[in-house]
Amino acid sequence: MNVVGTGRGPTIRFRVAVTAGRLAAEVSRRLGCGGGSVIGGRVAHRLCPDVLTRLAAGRTSVLVTGTNGKTTTSHLVAAALRDRGPVAHNASGSNMLDGAVGALMATPRSRLCVLEVDELHLGPVLDAVRPAVLVLLNLSRDQLDRVSEVRQTARTVESVLARHPDTVVVANADDPLVVSAAGSSPHVVWVAAGAGWEADTRTCPTCGHQVSRRTNGLRAVSWWCDHCGLHRPCPAWWWTPADEPGGFVVHHRDVAAVTVVSGLPGRVNRSNTTIALAAADAVGTDPASAAPHVARVRSVAGRYDRVAWEDRLVRSVLVKNPAGWGEALDVLAGARPVLLVVNAREADGRDVSWLWDLPVDVLRGRVVAVAGERAADLGVRLSYAGIPHHSHPDPLVALAALPAGEVDAVANYTAFRDLRRSLAGPARPRRPGGGTGHPRPAPEVPPPGPPGPAEPAGPDSGRRRCAPTVP
């Protein structure tokens, strides 16, 4: 690429790169090849290797990373900041370097920028953007066939953060892997954001010895390692339930509590919202004024949307790994029929062993259908757990086996994309046969209901008396 001669200086190179990138994005959009931000970003980056540094210069940026909740939380942060003017945001979830470049090119005059960043691509993006705030949500096993082991990811995040001592890290105090990665940073704002998934931190991420936990009966409210001393830090932010439906109260130890009526379901999204308000606060936005904007986020890139299909109303939830499934099953808590769709393509992770780590007991008593390219693996797993189910590789055939009315659908990455596409398409005749049948009828009586809400959070009485907890 010799369009820009090296002697003409970086400014011209930068301008040409951005122009070419925008053009590429526009062409891609017109050809119907998607939003174009990735290809545009790739072109600009190829022409000007420091294009992201230049695009981010002078903006106040918040980066959001972690294994689960990046897209949702970045939407919440962007909503929280929108009162202050336009916000550059990779809203579609293009979360590697090219996607960040594309988002900043698309909103050139914004002073504010919110970028979700893949946890494995954090280094180059953080080095270029130099954000005011980095949000670190959680770290857990994800696509073990593609990504190396999660402790290695935590060490990489830690070494990246060491290069950016001025960045404020808003981090989840309940996840030992997060604490091991962020704990050495000079400016950390700890949030009690919960950790429903403990299988990756039964041993200490720092020294490998056993982690001790104290629970409130359902969830850990404190944790520590007796061997090396790693422990749950004191959170500055936490949330508690409120009386109104969908409502909860976000607390900070020095600021007045803020009531939020969330547009998103489940405990995990209350935690995501709390983290978003903490991040907004860290860049000078008053949480009380941000709360109404955050509450208006009701669907995030298709997640939590309700779609009518034949005589069913399907709410679909995307999950990508076992920790996400655990959270989704909480989001979906109820007696509605449920459709589970699992693929195992490269983007999903080729190995579905993790199905055996899912808390499938919450499905007991519900009418269940399994689908996707790995429907049989999931079906075998449910049979061994004694949970009757319908199965068919085609999600629409499996869905047709469920009763009319509201249905919860949980799907992993490519399965979620394909399911939404199928649901949006014309209704097809049901294909009988081909599935594995259903030897025992699903129970017709609804179960007594989901596990009740956790008891309200009490003050932590773990090692240090300071820590409010996720209810």
């Binding site: 190396s148 039964r202 490998g208 062993s353 055996w356 780590d357 693996d377 079906g379 049979s383 594995t436």
Partner: protein, 246 residues
């Protein structure tokens, strides 16, 4: 079998070696017994406890490198357990479990970590990580073709006192230079009955994908073959086997 007639299945260190969901192997074993009217209990043996030495079956799974050495140290401190594994019980060791049951594990820094020495095999870092689906044919009677997922950084070579668990048909095995999958502790001619160790790199979990292997282990633990299982118990199994073996 225990005095009260229940078969005890121990999961060794699920808190340390839980990365690859291999604890599902114990669920498969227990349920296949219960479906045949045999009582079964699963005992999670975590690092904070003293391990029981009288269980009928022991399963141990895969984990990350640090966890693997912590697990090996812990197991080496419990002589009674080692004796049970060597002489009395039927055991399934997967991935890190296979390496720990061997003689030596060499890490990336070249440091040698002692294994339990229950299997004559040695493991060392591979040139690259081994990842992918594998199909092989078991040397154990009645087990047939086995499917599973490899995901490990180490490679393993068997010594003369260990025999292959299977020979690979496609996909990876213990070592890029061989077609050997896993290891068994006894000559296969005797392996249809009695105690012993079956070790493999296969995840899935391996017993979820290979019911004949589960029944082989159960028959050895009970000292008698089990009656066949009603196929309606696992309506998806044919499709699962076709997915990976077709």
């Amino acid at each position: 079998m225990r005095a009260h007639g229940s078969v005890a299945i121990a999961v060794l260190l699920p808190d340390v070696l839980g990365t690859y969901s291999d604890a599902g192997n114990a669920v498969v074993l227990a349920q296949r017994l219960r479906w045949r009217g045999v009582a079964a209990e699963i005992v999670d043996v975590t690092a904070g406890t003293v391990p029981p030495t009288g269980c009928d079956l022991y399963v141990i799974g895969g984990g990350e490198d640090t966890a693997e050495y912590v697990a090996a140290d812990w197991l080496a401190r419990h002589d009674g357990l080692r004796t049970a594994l060597a002489e009395r019980a039927v055991s399934l060791a997967v991935c890190a479990g296979l390496q720990i049951f061997g003689r030596v594990m060499t890490d990336r820094a070249g440091v040698e970590h002692a294994g339990l020495g229950l299997l004559d095999l040695v493991s060392s870092p591979g040139a690259r990580r081994t990842v992918g689906e594998s199909v092989s044919v078991s040397t154990l009677p009645g087990v047939g073709r086995v499917t599973g997922f490899h995901n490990h950084g180490g490679v393993t070579l068997l010594g003369p006192d260990a025999l292959p668990f299977a020979h690979t048909e496609r996909g990876p095995g213990n070592h890029p230079g061989t077609r050997v999958e896993g290891a068994v502790s006894r000559p296969t001619a005797d392996a249809a009955t009695g105690p012993g160790i079956v070790a493999t790199y296969l995840h899935g979990p391996v017993l979820a994908r290979n019911p004949a292997l589960a029944d082989h282990l159960l028959a050895r633990a009970l000292g008698a073959p089990l009656p066949p299982l009603d196929p309606d118990r696992l309506p998806d199994m044919a499709a699962l086997r076709a997915t990976y073996l077709g």
